[in-house]
Assembly symmetry: C2
Homo-oligomer: 243 residues x 2
Amino acid sequence: MKRSFLAALCCPFLALLWLGASTRTTNPVAPIPVFRKDARILFQGDSITDGNRGRSADPNHVMGHGYAYSIASRFGAAFPESNLAFMNRGVSGNKVSDLAARWQRDTIDLKPDILSILIGVNDQGAGVPVEQFERDYDKLLADTRAALPGIRLVLCEPFSLPVGGVKEHPERWVDGLRTRREAVARLATKHHAALVRLQAVFDAACKRAPADYWIWDGIHPTYSGHQLIADEWERVVRGLAKP
Amino acid sequence: MKRSFLAALCCPFLALLWLGASTRTTNPVAPIPVFRKDARILFQGDSITDGNRGRSADPNHVMGHGYAYSIASRFGAAFPESNLAFMNRGVSGNKVSDLAARWQRDTIDLKPDILSILIGVNDQGAGVPVEQFERDYDKLLADTRAALPGIRLVLCEPFSLPVGGVKEHPERWVDGLRTRREAVARLATKHHAALVRLQAVFDAACKRAPADYWIWDGIHPTYSGHQLIADEWERVVRGLAKP
């Protein structure tokens, strides 16, 4: 009993050891099944995804500084043989309607195998009715699946923490973003998308450090907050079955 | 024998399990002894460190996109109770003389506990003699230790890979940067600094993917290349004894 308990404990570590040997990074990284060879992974969204990314061809800056960068650098370094192509097309200030206006060029034409979307906070800020948000987002996802039938969709919840404007106007942000998260969850079910639940992650993190340690103005994560997004995204996407 | 081997294998995993429980991140991170509570960690250097960091107060952008961002977000998220303060003052195009000109304001006044410096490639590009590079760098480090006696220094090797201009002019880059690396190694010994050897890391990585997968123009790493720096930096700094 004792020995089998010890052996059970060892299994994940032995797996990591093996992976460490195969990937040869200091920090061993377990592979993600849907990140198959030559996979194209696109991040779409607003400023949180944008992360001040460079618009030039300089590959040093194309991912911005945020969760998209963290995921790309971690898996790009660990699995060079997989030749993963990470892309970021987040644009500051975008609402769902802004995504729709540039969708062909910035998403469909890029032919992603995995498409991650984090959107909603600017729809909330601009007062776009939740019904319209959900209807437009639904059309965007339906159009995407029609154009790229094999695509894997990852929808990220919009989130906030009580800092700055969010703390001053909770009636505007807390309920509004909650109803948008419910809409995103419905869309994830309808379109067979993975759902990355981020509000609960940020809420839990506030038990360990003040809210502004994670999200400096209530909306935009700090570098530590972005790591929480990257970790949860990885956890959810790791669970997706291989295509 | 078998059992003790198994137990030995288990130890690091059990440590990670415990750490995972204590840090509650999806990807457990082992603590770094010199990252004690309220530690201030400053990254200094040129464009590779700069990473297009924001110059405003927006904490979303202060670390740039590069190895400094990766280290800050990873440890900021894993150890919020430690209240680590990560700072980036890398400036594109800087040589050692440029660091010296802004050292008081951008380094001494920030009172770092740990100071990491990655410099040398622009001295090489500008043809600053290696002797002068070493002499000026030596003075910078001596002044720093005099002003901040308890500081822990981390010196990163300048590096290149045969891509673009580096490939076209190997006589200019390969030998030149090698002699600067030797100077940095001497300075690390003299000033009791940790030395992060990066050239060997990039050379080894080229066995797994083409050079431009890691460093797009011979000098500036891609997001995958930056992760190699972050991993090696972490490995070396993890080995430093607690202050």
